[in-house]
Assembly symmetry: C2
Homo-oligomer: 300 residues x 2
């Protein structure tokens, strides 16, 4: 498999009912890459500043992620995010964002990455996502994430991107915003009319919804009693999903459904700790065991 991810790498500070942490490793591509690496090697493209702690790199070596494409840019600062979760852990407020290096030019894609076949464009400016795409002439499956900001401010560029990708992953509120629909099936249909072969609509603690061809699939989340930190749940979901797809190269409905289930399971581990704590502790075997449990629960 030759899976590549591009997106943010950040230093997060989080306040939650379960505790507070300052200056931990975060960012969409970090959660994605760690999650996807359970299924095979992952290539990462991204930039950090000269303030990026070397201990983060050390801890990240635990995962099967190729960091050739990670640029540490002198004179720049790393993206920072500070957020606070509400009591129910489902809602959060962003207290502070420092875009820093994310507002600068994108890091170059190393030549050795250009044969990548499986591309995940984690959430960033759609113009940047489009630019990146052109680096991968052998691409087989391209999946992108996006967010409310780009839907609102960069719709024409986003629509151009949608015409060139195989799958879109986004939250339910974003799907409604993008399509003007209020029903999830109709929103999914409308997204697919914009280009993607499939769309996965993430519903947080309520699971995820897939439309691909004539197939509709709803999966619940894996019931979590002890949510420590939901940060990165959506990115680790996408990582688990895309990791499985890249490992199998199979874009049948059965395969995409199973990929969603893997995403669900990896995300369920991710939220059991701050940052990558829990993902550092588990193995592919743990994921497969929990998937088996999930599968039995859904046997009706």
């Amino acid at each position: 498999m030759s899976l590549i991810v591009t997106g943010s790498i950040g230093i997060d500070s989080i306040e939650a009912p379960t505790g507070n942490v300052n200056d931990v490793l975060g960012g969409s591509s970090i959660y994605f890459a760690a999650a996807a690496s359970f299924f095979g090697p992952v290539r990462l493209v991204g930039a950090v500043g000269d303030d990026f702690p070397s201990r983060f790199l050390e801890s990240f070596r635990h995962f099967n992620v190729d960091l050739t494409g990670l640029e540490q840019r002198q004179g720049s600062k790393t993206f920072r995010w500070r957020g606070r979760y509400h009591a129910n852990m489902n809602n959060r407020d962003t207290l502070e964002v420092q875009l820093n290096v994310l507002a600068e030019k994108l890091p170059p894609v190393p030549d050795v990455y250009k044969d990548s076949q499986y591309i995940f464009l984690a959430n960033t400016h759609p113009a940047g996502q489009l630019d990146l795409l052109s680096n991968f002439p052998n691409r087989r499956i391209v999946v992108a994430d996006t967010m409310d900001l780009w839907i609102e401010t960069e719709r024409p560029t986003l629509l151009k991107l949608l015409a060139q990708i195989d799958g879109l992953v986004l939250n339910d509120s974003e799907a409604f915003q993008l399509t003007g629909k209020t029903n999830i099936v109709r929103a999914a249909e409308a997204v697919c009319e914009m280009g993607p072969k499939f769309v996965v609509i993430k519903k947080g603690e309520h699971g995820a919804f897939l439309k691909m061809d004539d197939h509709l699939v709803a999966l619940p989340a894996f019931a979590a009693r002890d949510v420590v930190d939901p940060t990165g749940a959506g990115d680790s979901f996408a990582g688990g999903m895309m990791g499985y797809l890249a490992a199998t190269g199979d874009l049948s409905i059965a395969s995409v459904r199973k990929a969603m289930a893997y995403g669900t399971i990896v995300a369920s581990y991710n939220i059991e700790s701050f940052s990558l704590g829990r993902l550092q502790e588990i193995t592919r075997q743990d994921i497969d065991q929990r998937l088996e449990h999930f599968s039995r629960m859904l046997a009706v």
Copy 2:
């Protein structure tokens, strides 16, 4: 099977983005009984007023429901409800409630019903639910529904009821209100500590959640593209679930999970029309076919 249901029988008027209807058959026990009757005969206890249209009785004869326990009380008026759904169909405002006969004494349980083994106490005052229970010495499985009003105003009586039932069915917001928890797993655990062997937490378009013994089961809703009227979704869910349990008499986790799936499917048909329109058109075969589709969708 000897399944009995008690609860409201009403005349509903509904405003929705899909249309408006005036004076249609509604009420918790009506939706429940119609749904459960696909699995076997259902006995109904309830009261209506002298304004209750005879055409409602005619249309209801379509279902396998014994109406011996239906009292048409002269000089009383039938319970009436008027509501308006928001654009997304998930939220609604109650515009008008006339309790009428529901505020009077409960109708008597006919002697021929007293051997009932499967009891569903649809949502009503918990003192009334407790009174009814004492009529069924041979009861095998008792499941109750409740609502925010009783949780707020009749907690001691409700807790007394919870100690005497096997299962509780309620909405997620009600489960949080009852237990003071904000996490669904913890809320379910807290409900089971109050007495019931199992609890089913309904999440509307997001499906339902079960805790029984050490088992946790989350099921999604069946994806609906065309929701005409969500009224009675929760009651028809409970009806499908309890109908299956009463037909099998099996309270194993596999059986309760399958019962939840049947509830999900019957509810998915119910919301395709106002009142009982769609449930009058379908057969058990339709339900089994959609269940098979649902089951395939969940095979991961």
